[in-house]
């Protein structure tokens, strides 16, 4: 093994079959078997079996299993290429590694099936139901099932190993085909919604089976289409293409961005009209969390202040709106409604609420911010976490229940209106439009501030607080500005949330909400506006929010597990996020960039030229 990285690349000999790293294969196989057993034991297979991906033979439950041997086969065959080393030659040994890994995984998993079939362990592991055994044995008896799993996993592992061997282009083709089909199957509800809106139901009637899932025919056709697209696609990675895009002249880039923004705005205006209630509900939830994410992104992403109590400002916005509008809140008599450009009534009354929410959120930002702002890093995180909980408990307390209603919260929040158009909480479409308006404002705010005196001060603060101070930046004031800006955006999100739900309860403002907003920002890409949107779409749209169901509703109870797994994977593989800001990417990749530059001989690090 060792000798190979030093071997000259001019000797393209395929390594002998015997040169398999057996220890690694054994480890990968056992891990894969454990992973399979874990997924089955937590009940994922049984629950996700409800959702058919490809009718009639592949459910989401089985899909949750089949990726495991493929993935472990792939990693068992691969060898980490040391930085700057020469990649080892791929060959039959990779296939063998994958095959054996898969077979081992199947073997371990068969043991697990035999185990749960023989002993009744439902007392301890409540998810090991007879239904699970039926699913895992395909109703065929244990011997046949074991054989199926061993052979099946071996073949899947072989596929994983093969993915190491085939050319990049073929790999791209296959991955596009699989991912494409999976996405279309996942988006079933949205696509049917859309086709009904566009009156092209006959397409989806063909694509999707009656009781859910793609039909086999449609799956094959889609696979072929996506595969062909993947085969034709360029061999550049997303980041490389992005790099190229960014290095275009500024005017070209600006024009392209304008076009993209125009398309996005048109989509935001027209898509909700076409799609049905379900998609609109998803869109409204995503919009709400984009707004929250953009606010937190200013605090965490731009200024580098880790705020774990962000939900407090969301709660302040929601409760402020509830008290001003609900007829059931006793301490504010002239009940207002969120009525912008009112026809009949007082023209400004909606704006008063906006102004009060803004002021209250800003005040709470200052109140929470001032005592904690001198703390750094971990200390700040812990203290803000505490403040977030304090705010929730205050809203919950008996002491303040005459004002906030305690655990019963404030209900009967009336619907909002823009001119003659009523915005009912039950109509997701109108809520989405309201959210979209505020998201656009938030994007504008975030974008303008990025390259301004304030934005630069935030960056400096994030990079080195002491030095920022030496550069004449009043770090306390600048931090507080970030805190308040974030708080105001969260306050607006709270306002929309109150109207959407029609009532506010302390239970809606748990720590979990802060964490989920933070995960959106991290997964999307800290400091990146587009990243927040991508993060919210992926997490809230697909997996679902703290209480809101997402596209994969079946994931419901496993949502937090997936969030956690996703976060760990992101931290290991792509710490800068799905759509990182340029600066953040630099920060986390700059050693790699230097390394690459050194390897390829292009000067990334400028050496002192002899020009003077």
């Amino acid at each position: 093994m060792m000798t190979d990285s030093a071997a000259p690349p001019s000797k393209p000999d395929v390594r002998p079959m015997t040169d398999v790293d057996w220890e690694k294969v054994l480890r990968s196989g056992a891990l894969a078997g454990l992973m399979l057993s874990f997924i089955a034991a937590i009940g994922m297979v049984t629950v996700l079996d409800e959702r058919t991906m490809i009718d009639p033979w592949l459910s989401l439950g089985y899909l949750a299993l089949v990726w495991v041997p493929v993935f472990f086969g792939f990693t068992a065959a691969s060898e980490p290429t040391p930085d700057g080393g020469i990649s080892p030659v791929k060959g039959e040994r990779d296939l063998l590694s994958g095959l054996v890994t898969g077979a081992l995984a199947g073997l371990c998993f068969s043991f697990f099936i035999v185990l749960i079939d023989t002993y009744d362990m439902t007392d301890i592991f409540s998810n090991l139901l007879p239904r699970l055994v039926d699913l895992l044995t395909f109703d065929r008896g244990i011997g046949v099932a074991a054989a199926i799993w061993i052979v099946g996993c071996a073949l899947l592992g072989l596929c994983g190993g093969a993915a190491q061997v085939v050319s990049a282009r073929v790999k791209r083709m296959l991955s596009w085909a699989f991912v494409g089909v999976a996405i279309v199957a996942m988006l079933e509800a949205v696509i049917i919604d859309l086709s009904q809106g566009l009156r092209v139901e006959f397409v989806t009637d063909f694509m999707y089976a009656k009781n859910g899932g793609l039909t086999t025919g449609a799956a094959i056709i889609l696979g072929a289409i996506f595969g062909a697209a993947g085969f034709q696609s360029s061999d550049k990675t997303f980041d490389q293409r992005r790099q190229e895009r960014m290095s275009q002249p500024k005017e070209v880039l600006l024009r392209k961005n304008m076009v993209a923004a125009g398309v996005a705005i048109l989509a935001v205006i027209f898509v909700p009209m076409v799609v049905g209630g379900l998609t609109n509900e998803l869109l409204a939830n995503v919009g709400l969390f984009v707004l929250l994410g953009l606010g937190l992104n200013i605090v965490v992403g731009s200024a580098g202040l880790l705020d774990l109590g962000y939900v407090a400002f969301f709660a302040v916005g929601a409760y402020t709106t509830a008290i001003l509008t609900s007829p059931l809140s006793p301490y504010w008599v002239p009940e207002l409604t969120l009525d912008f450009f009112s026809w009949e009534d007082w023209f400004w009354k909606g704006w008063v609420i906006v102004a009060v929410v803004l002021v209250m959120a800003a005040i709470s930002g200052i109140l929470v911010g001032t005592p904690v702002i001198r703390l750094r890093g971990d200390y700040l995180a812990i203290v803000t976490l505490g403040f977030g909980e304090i705010v929730r408990i205050l809203f919950l307390s008996d002491w303040l229940s005459p004002y906030f209603g305690g655990a019963q919260g404030v209900t009967n929040i009336p619907s909002a209106a823009i001119g003659p158009v009523e915005i009912q909480g039950t109509s997701s479409q109108s809520i989405f439009y309201l959210t979209a308006v505020f998201v656009v404002i938030a994007i504008y705010v975030a974008w303008r501030l990025q390259s301004s005196r304030t934005g630069r001060a935030w960056s400096a603060l994030r990079e080195d607080e002491d030095v920022a101070e030496a550069m004449g930046i009043n770090t306390t004031a600048v931090k507080l500005t970030a805190f308040v800006t974030g708080a105001v955006l969260a306050g607006f999100a709270g306002m929309i949330f109150a109207v959407k739900v029609g009532s506010v309860f302390p239970i809606s403002f748990k720590l979990l909400v802060s964490i989920i907003i933070l995960v959106i920002v991290i997964v999307g890409g800290m400091g990146s506006i587009a990243g927040v949107i991508v993060g919210a779409v992926v997490l809230i749209g697909v997996l679902g929010g703290p209480t809101q169901p997402g596209l994969l509703q079946e994931f419901g109870q496993f949502k937090l597990l997936i969030y956690g797994a996703l976060l760990v994977i992101m931290m290991l593989k792509r710490p800068e996020g799905l759509w990182p800001s340029v600066r953040r990417q630099r920060e986390l990749r700059h050693e790699e960039l230097n390394q690459d530059a050194w390897l390829t001989g292009t000067p990334g690090t400028d050496e002192e030229e002899d020009d003077a």
Binding site: Y444, V445, R448, L449, S452, R453, T454, G455, R456, A457, S459, A460, E463, D464, D466, V467, A468, E469, A470, M471, G472, I473, N474, T475, T481, T485, R583, R584, R586, E587, H590, L593, N594, G604, T605, D606, E607, E608, D611, A612
Partner: protein, 263 residues
């Protein structure tokens, strides 16, 4: 009076260690003064106390007639004292130009509302900030010019990082600049260039400079006056020639001669 900075009986201790033990110091406008001394003599503590990172235990620091002892660092920067750091501390992920732009924070004023409303004042100020940053960077000749403007600071070579740090300090538009070992780790050619640069700071920019330096050739060439610190105490002051032959200074650097030690 003509002293731009006047320090009397400055003391600063950390527990048992007396980093500064009654230091008197003054510098006139347009002067270049070197502060030298063996490692641990209190040179950097001296800078940190002047710039507000440490508040003095006793003694006064008077800058342009104003006692600045105990003020916040950003206030002191605002009054016109800038500094660099011994171990270069740039904002590595910001571009070269942004590094100098951000330094003008205390000389500019647009807040959030001006930015959001994109007022004329904001646009004018942004343009001025950028213009001034480019002008400051051009002080370093071709070193930090052109394509370098948009490069992140971490790609710069070591010597260029040192230069950028000085450029950033110049961005705060100081009257008094404190340079903490500006030539540390540089090769002889770069050191010579830096020596010339320090002199140009005074002649072209009118900046008064205090420099901590270990490289004696630099000290000899740039300084009008040399102050020697040892164990928080000023042990000598004067021209390079007088200081370099002062027996106390030699003792501080090399230790007591053997025959004197036995006495």
């Amino acid at each position: 009076m003509s002293h731009i900075l006047q320090i009397d009986q400055l003391r600063k201790g950390f527990g048992g260690v007396q980093a500064l033990d009654g230091v008197d110091f003054h510098i006139d406008k347009g002067e270049i003064v070197s502060v030298i001394g063996p490692n641990g003599a209190g040179k950097t503590s001296f800078f940190n106390t002047i710039t507000g990172y440490f508040s003095p235990d006793s003694g006064s620091i008077v800058f342009n007639g104003l006692n600045i002892g105990g003020h916040e660092p950003h206030e002191i920067t605002g009054l016109g004292i800038a500094r660099t750091f011994q171990n270069v501390r740039l904002f590595p992920n910001m571009t070269v130009l942004e590094n100098v732009m951000v330094a003008q924070h205390s000389r500019t004023s647009t807040g959030i509302f001006g930015t959001l409303l994109n007022t004329r004042g904001f646009r004018k100020e942004e343009a001025e900030i950028e213009e001034r940053a480019k002008e400051i960077l051009s002080f370093f000749g071709q070193r930090l010019k052109g394509y370098r403007w948009d490069q992140p600071a971490f790609v710069l070579s070591y010597a260029n990082r040192r230069r950028l740090e000085i450029a950033r300090a110049m961005g705060t538009q100081p009257e008094l600049l404190l340079l903490d070992e500006p030539t540390a780790g540089m090769n002889p050619r770069e050191t010579a260039e830096m020596t010339e640069l320090i002199d140009r700071l005074r002649t072209e920019r009118g900046i008064t400079v205090v420099v901590i330096e270990h490289e004696m050739r630099v000290v000899r060439e740039v300084s009008d006056r040399v102050v020697v610190l040892d164990h928080g105490v000023k042990i000598a002051e004067g021209t390079y020639e007088t200081v370099s032959t002062n027996p106390d200074v030699i003792e501080a650097y090399l230790g007591r001669p053997a025959e004197a030690g036995s006495a």
